[in-house]
Subunit: 328 residues, 2 copies
């Protein structure tokens, strides 16, 4: 019988709360403490049985916590926190600024190797499961074209952009994959498509009283970078509708590779997610990766790792024998 995997959470926003819930679903895991930059006692209401600590107390948990799950943002939190905590603990994070992954990897790798720890970086669903599926399909079908579609889901950046428009009181933006394009690809076509040809943008906007709705609509649909190049719809709703119908954080998407084997034989591989909660699902991926981090570290591995480096059997609590019997 293996010992329980002891976990810490750093950061207690939507993702951190999702990790707490995911740990509850895994009997081989135990939450030791949540670390925060806020005043720990402020977080206690509604989280009975969870121990909160200030982030400055983390070092005292060295040797107690097996893996720290880092739930900060990619813009400013993780570039600082992952290297810092990797000097003390094994870590898992969801760093998702694609263009900066190589330098992030190098920075974390150097710290972790020196500290004899292991850090699984940039996991979740994209980067993460989508990346795995892009790799898998490309390795099997070297001749082919692949497509990533996101949505239907909330884009935080685009929602923020809407809310900055004068006369807008609130709003949310959904990125929506174009079904007709997906159907063409599933039918075997391999069109060359930009991100904007694959996605629509649906905006739900609460206008301030007396605001000019036509002017708001024009400002949004013509906004450069965010909306101008996309098919964008703007629907005005009430504040109540925004609260009641748009409070979820759904997301998802598809990775499709359309390849050729032999003499023109078409082969299509598709992976898709339909998520009612993006942060809860991402959290569940982080928790499974924490299990893999413990296993790999137990074999002597150190440094930064990505999903590409993990034998997937290590994500499961089941033994290799059980996996072969039940799931192969």
């Amino acid at each position: 019988m293996q010992h329980t995997i002891k976990l810490g959470i750093v950061g207690y926003g939507n993702l951190g709360k999702g990790v707490r819930k995911a740990i509850d679903q895994n009997p081989d895991m135990e939450l030791v403490a949540v670390f925060t930059r806020r005043t720990p006692s402020e977080l206690e209401s509604g989280s009975a049985g969870v121990k909160f600590e200030h982030i400055s107390a983390a070092e005292r948990y060295k040797g107690i916590i097996d893996v720290m799950i880092l739930c900060g943002g990619s813009a400013t939190d993780l570039p600082e926190q992952t290297p810092q905590l990797a000097s003390l603990f094994n870590t898992v994070d969801s760093f998702d600024t694609h263009a900066k992954i190589p330098e992030f990897f190098e920075a974390v790798d150097a710290v972790a190797r020196k500290a004899d720890t292991l850090s699984v970086i940039s996991t979740g669903w994209d980067p993460g499961l989508f990346s795995l599926n892009r790799l898998l399909a490309e390795a099997i079908l070297p001749q082919g074209t692949d497509y990533t579609f996101w949505g239907k889901g909330v884009s935080q950046g685009h929602s923020d952009a809407i809310r900055r428009v004068p006369g807008v009181k609130g709003g949310v933006q959904y990125t929506v994959p174009v079904q007709a394009v997906i159907d063409r690809i599933r039918a075997g076509e391999t069109p060359a498509l930009s991100t904007r040809e694959k996605h629509l943008r649906e905006c739900y906007v609460v206008a301030e009283e007396g605001a000019d709705q036509d002017a708001i609509r024009e400002t949004i649909v013509n906004m450069p970078n965010y909306f101008a190049d996309y098919d964008t719809t703007v629907t005005f709703i009430t504040e109540e509708q925004l609260q009641n119908e748009h409070k979820g954080m759904p997301h998802g998407g598809f990775v499709i590779r359309s390849g050729i084997t032999g003499e023109g034989t078409k082969q299509i591989v598709e992976f898709g997610l339909k998520l009612e909660s993006n942060p809860e699902f991402t959290a569940s991926v982080l928790v499974a990766c924490a299990r893999a981090a413990v296993r790999l570290r137990g074999e002597g591995a150190v440094g930064a790792k990505t999903v590409f480096d993990l034998p997937l059997g290590y994500l499961s609590p089941k033994s290799p024998e059980q996996l072969r019997r039940e799931l192969l």
Copy 2:
């Protein structure tokens, strides 16, 4: 620059031919020879540039061939050939008798450990990619229900059963997933379903001249085990139609897990394949796994392995740096 991976193929049916074509698509690989129990010279027509050897000559290639890709059947070939060849070479096979995988694993593992070789067993798409996706989705969503659908695709066993019916000259059977059931699951329902509730059986039959078509239909749809418990359709066609419209070997299917996180949040993970050629796709998976076998063996690993034991990055010819930059 790594040296080219030198491969042998054992068995030259549809799968072996598919492996030859897949090797051609991978510039880091080279086919050294095809081994057969038949007279090698008989196989040469239509396969220019391929060297054929009798299976008894395999031993002479020890130290020359990096991985033998075993393309025999699971019923009688592989239980004998994999252990035999694992005593001399690294191997990859597609042993797919699910119930016998544990004992097959043990037998191959013992031989390979003794011989200091590595064998990736039971790979392809099911077992193989479908297994990986069952594991991945279950590890991430421990609370959930999963579903495997096969098809639309040819079932060899059921096609053989049709052809044994008196008055039948030829025929083919397609296993077809029930679209309405897939739609329910994609919409979030988690019904309890047996294999027969998830699949239809479509039979295309060529009757002998003067044969009683109604009697043939009755015999097929009432055949125990094969058809009696399924919704089965029988369509009579001409010999020309059988040749022209049913000569392909399409297959595919879906693995869907419908899970719950937090307080009843629905999360759906789906993996699907739509294959114009089952053997060519399976062959492409075997070839990518041969690359992983070489990498793992290069790290000192020996014994039997399954897809659960492979870091997926090892399937790709790209370096870890390149994978992180391009695919993560």
